[in-house]
């Protein structure tokens, strides 16, 4: 395994090239070699760099130090001082006022590594999840006590001020959602914790449930007090047997300690909690399908509006929040909104838990401040690529976006990603090297959607199936150029016509693949060649008729 200690990035936009970026790059290569650092330091070009007046720029990770303008003559100093001895070369730093956008934000980190910063996973692995005393010893249930001394409106105020946004995929402001439920004047309300976590590549919620179940109970009690609910459900996917057991144990203990039930902390507030185990269906993560499922029905999403905040479980106002969202709540109450805002980026405060998967040296789970870049995750935490160079990543699970190499340096937070038309989703980062074929990957993704579509609405049910068939034909070597247009149309219609988020996003990775890897898909069709040498290409019977090339489908293909 090759673990890179530092990473040198040289800007390669047109302006930087004109001002000598190539020469700077070569000088770095040479000097790094001279100093015998080639194994520890990687060097690459970076393109998506934003405007600046100090080109060419050189960014060095993990310190996130930005030098510029760099001339080939400066390289020796930077290699000797910074890379070899570890001192920042102050005189070559770019003045902060010359940087804008994402670079300005990078430099504002003041050379600190975006280190792991655990809020959500703070207790996971440190406490005995089956012993409530362990949780209480680490300030557990203190936040609930604090909140019961405040009004519900004050509590919602703190969550609003913290800027917390939902971690279930959409990034909806949590405080605002709470206020919607609080506003309804109905006696019976529910809070639901969405622990269905079926997004491929995601297992962060499982670790919280298994490792720190009381944090979720405390958060749900706080939420219930804030919105005026007295009953709650934790909907855990059925495959998570251990999480279900631990949550049941935790609820039982909380009841024994008077932290659930009637008149909690001798107040007027009462709240109790049930566990509902899912029975295996991805769509049940969608909040209205989840509600149908608790009611004992097929998990088919409802038409919205009305939203669950006004018409949810058994028609009552219902607050649905993701596990990771809830796990932030006790810490925010204990430490205050300002503290929370000091972490992450201005539009997306706090941390994010990412699952790192695919062709990297180290897979697993990290919790880091919002705004870290994909390149940082791969180099620092995943210890580099395995079995080839970076080709693409898929963020946010099956319905997430495909990120090509030139978007690796976009900070990962809700808004930067939105600007780049990328979705952060659940925080799964599936990293692929050159050996992964995009047609094959698209096929696997659409196969998932055609199985998991609940079948209620036609655009989704038929669109997913049809797209899968077209992709299979392309993989078999019997695709046509018309197929490309059909796929594009299918992806558009899935988005426009589907009833719920499943269908609406099913086509998005497909669209990205058609945008960024069009040539590779076309090569499957025109040349009958799979550049990654993965697709079967079994049906390529080509008859030449004059100039015309006709492709016939093999029987039963």
């Amino acid at each position: 395994m090759k673990a890179v200690r530092s990473m040198v990035l040289v800007s390669s936009d047109a302006e930087s090239i004109a001002l000598g970026a190539n020469e700077v790059f070569s000088a770095f290569q040479q000097k790094i070699q001279d100093y015998g650092l080639s194994d520890e330091i990687s060097i690459s070009f970076i393109s998506d760099i934003g405007h600046n007046s100090a080109a060419p720029l050189v960014i060095i990770y993990p310190e996130a130090v930005i030098y510029g303008p760099v001339k080939p003559d400066d390289v020796l100093d930077i290699v000797e001082e910074h890379l070899d001895k570890g001192h920042i070369v102050e005189r070559k730093l770019v003045p902060a006022h010359e940087l804008s956008e994402h670079l300005a934000w990078l430099s504002s980190r003041k050379g600190t590594l975006p280190a792991e910063n655990r809020i959500v996973l703070k207790n996971v692995g440190l406490i005995d999840p089956e012993n409530i005393e362990d949780y209480i010893a680490l300030d557990g249930y203190q936040a609930l006590g604090t909140v019961l001394g405040k009004t519900p409106a004050e509590t919602i105020g703190i969550i609003k001020d913290s800027g917390l946004r939902g971690r279930g995929g959409a990034g909806f402001p949590t405080g605002l959602k709470w206020s919607f439920v609080a506003k309804t004047h109905i006696d019976k309300k529910y809070v639901v914790c969405n622990a269905d976590e079926s997004e491929p590549g995601t297992f962060k919620d499982r670790l919280v449930l298994e490792g720190d179940p009381h944090a979720i109970i405390e958060a749900m009690a706080i939420a219930a007090y804030a919105v005026g609910a007295d009953e709650g459900y934790v909907y855990i996917r059925g495959e998570y047997g251990l999480a279900i057991e631990r949550m049941k144990v935790a609820i039982k203990q909380a009841r024994e300690y008077g932290l659930l039930g009637k008149n909690i902390f001798s107040s007027k507030f009462s709240f109790d909690l049930h566990v509902h185990a899912g029975a295996g269906a991805y769509i049940c993560g969608e909040e209205t399908a989840l509600i149908e499922s608790i009611e004992g029905k097929r998990g088919e999403p409802r038409s919205r509006p009305p939203y669950p905040t006004t018409f949810g479980l058994w028609g009552k106002p219902t607050l649905v929040n993701n596990v990771e969202t809830l796990a932030n709540i006790p810490a925010i109450i204990r430490n205050g909104a300002d503290w929370y805002r000091s972490i992450g980026t201005p539009s997306s405060p706090g941390t994010k838990v990412y699952t790192i998967l695919g062709n990297v040296n180290v897979t697993g789970l990290i919790e880091v401040p919002m705004g870290i870049t994909l390149r940082e995750v791969i180099t620092i935490y995943a210890k580099g690529m395995k079995g080839g160079t970076f080709k693409m990543a898929q963020t946010g699970g099956s319905s997430g976006s495909i990120i090509p190499a030139n978007l690796q340096d976009t900070p990962m937070d809700f808004d930067s990603f939105k600007t780049a038309s990328v979705s952060l989703g659940s925080g799964a980062l599936l990293i692929c090297n050159q050996e992964i074929c995009v047609v094959d990957l698209a096929k696997v993704l659409l196969n998932f959607f055609r199985f998991e579509s609940c079948g209620k609405c036609n655009p989704c049910r038929i669109g997913c199936q049809k797209s899968f068939e077209i992709l299979s034909n392309i993989a078999e070597g019997i695709g046509t150029l018309q197929d490309l247009e059909d796929l594009q149309m299918m992806a558009d219609q899935l988005y426009e016509l589907s009833n719920c988020g499943l269908g609406q996003t099913a086509g998005s990775p497909l669209k990205d693949i058609l945008t960024y890897f069009h040539a590779e898909v076309e090569s499957h069709i025109r040349l009958k060649v799979c550049p990654a040498d993965t697709c079967p290409m079994s049906g390529k019977t080509i008859y030449q008729v004059g100039q015309e090339v006709k492709i016939t489908r093999e029987q039963g293909a």
């Binding site: 976590e197 079926s198 997004e199 491929p200 590549g201 995601t202 297992f203 499982r206 996917r237 059925g238 495959e239 998570y240 047997g241 509902h276 185990a277 899912g278 029975a279 295996g280 269906a281 991805y282 499922s293 608790i294 009611e295 004992g296 029905k297 097929r298 998990g299 699952t355 998967l357 695919g358 062709n359 897979t363 697993g364 789970l365 898929q394 099956s398 799964a428 599936l430 692929c432 992964i436 094959d440 990957l441 696997v444 993704l445 196969n447 998932f448 199985f451 998991e452 609940c454």
Partner: protein, 159 residues
């Protein structure tokens, strides 16, 4: 029709017991069916009819719920159920080779049960164990980082 019995359990008696514990609220339907599925391996038409009577629901309502969820089966399955994850993260980690090896070793395809009723082979979506993909699950046992050449050895651990 004879009454279904498995492991000494009588289906009708079991259902009556479950109704006693859970009550007849609609919300209890899925939890009850999960327990039936766990005890009998599947939910037979006899079970559906009994539930319909005791819970006062039309049989088709119960049937559509039973067929909707992946973890509930309306057909008998083999002694051991193998679930193979075919979602993208396991695929990128080299899942297809394992899948081919699995089908070859068992001589059956996805959704089939072997002649001797020993194995049922199913594909499934992500099981939340992606950090150790490719993943396959046999009954309750999870196997991660599976290599194609390990498949035979893993299967041989089951009677």
């Amino acid at each position: 029709m004879s009454v279904e019995v498995k492991n000494g359990l009588d289906i009708k008696k079991t259902i009556r017991e479950l109704i006693k514990q859970h009550g007849t609220e609609r919300a209890e339907l899925i939890p009850i069916m999960q327990k039936i599925n766990a005890a009998f391996g599947y939910i037979s038409s006899e079970a559906i009819e009994e539930l319909a009577i005791l819970m006062n629901l039309p049989t088709n309502q119960i049937f559509t719920v039973a067929t909707f969820y992946r973890m509930l089966s309306t057909e008998p399955r083999g002694k051991h159920v193998i679930q193979f994850c075919e979602s993208a993260p396991c695929h990128v980690a080299g899942g297809r080779q394992v899948w081919l090896a699995l089908q070859e070793a068992l001589g059956i395809k996805s959704g089939q049960t072997s002649q001797d009723n020993k194995w049922t082979l199913l594909t499934t979506s992500c099981l939340g164990a992606c950090g150790i993909g490719p993943v396959l699950v046999i009954d309750q046992d999870i196997y991660g980082n599976v290599q194609p050449q390990q498949v035979k050895n893993i299967l041989s651990r089951y009677e």
